[in-house]
Amino acid sequence: MAATNPSAALEKEQIFGMAEKEMEYRVDMFNKLTQTCFSKCIENRHKESELNMGENSCIDRCVSKYWQVTNLVGQLLGSNQPPM
């Protein structure tokens, strides 16, 4: 059950390290996404504390598009094509 084998323990450390990086990445992405979509969708005079219908659908679309852009840029970066 417990990893006594040193190489297995090392491997486990690496996996934890990767999982940590992955989580950090997701948290950062979530924060950026929240900031960006707030700037783009929420009217900045703050006349109300409720989100209105327009803002709600803007948020949904903004999140979805942000996600698409993330994937698109990821593909472009991963495709090994020389830029331009």
Binding site: M1, A19, F30, N31, N44, L51, V63
Partner: protein, 93 residues
């Protein structure tokens, strides 16, 4: 930031689960401090731009309250949608 966003930990052995949970707690602390700072910055920028007095007037205060409340609601909605995308759910346009 909600734990459910980062995937489920139930499949891991107990010791690993605790380690992951500790990691997530740390991230959440860091995250909430950052959020606090950025929210102050944003609401200050949006709501305060005259400096005739040294304290917030009624209107500025109301604006800040709404701004913060709205940001939290916004953040919850984004969290919901983000979790859906992370779980690979397709959403209609």
């Amino acid at each position: 930031m909600d734990k459910s966003m980062l995937g489920d930990l139930d499949s891991l052995p107990e010791a690993d689960k605790q380690k992951m949970a500790a990691m997530i707690d740390q991230l959440q602390i860091r995250d909430s401090l950052r959020m606090y700072n950025s929210l102050v910055e944003r609401c200050f920028t949006d709501c305060v731009d005259t400096f005739r007095r040294k304290s917030l007037d009624k209107q500025e205060e109301t604006c800040v309250r709404r701004c913060a409340e709205k940001f939290l609601k916004h953040s919850m909605r984004v969290g919901m949608r983000f979790a859906e995308l992370n779980q690979g759910a397709a959403t209609p346009d």
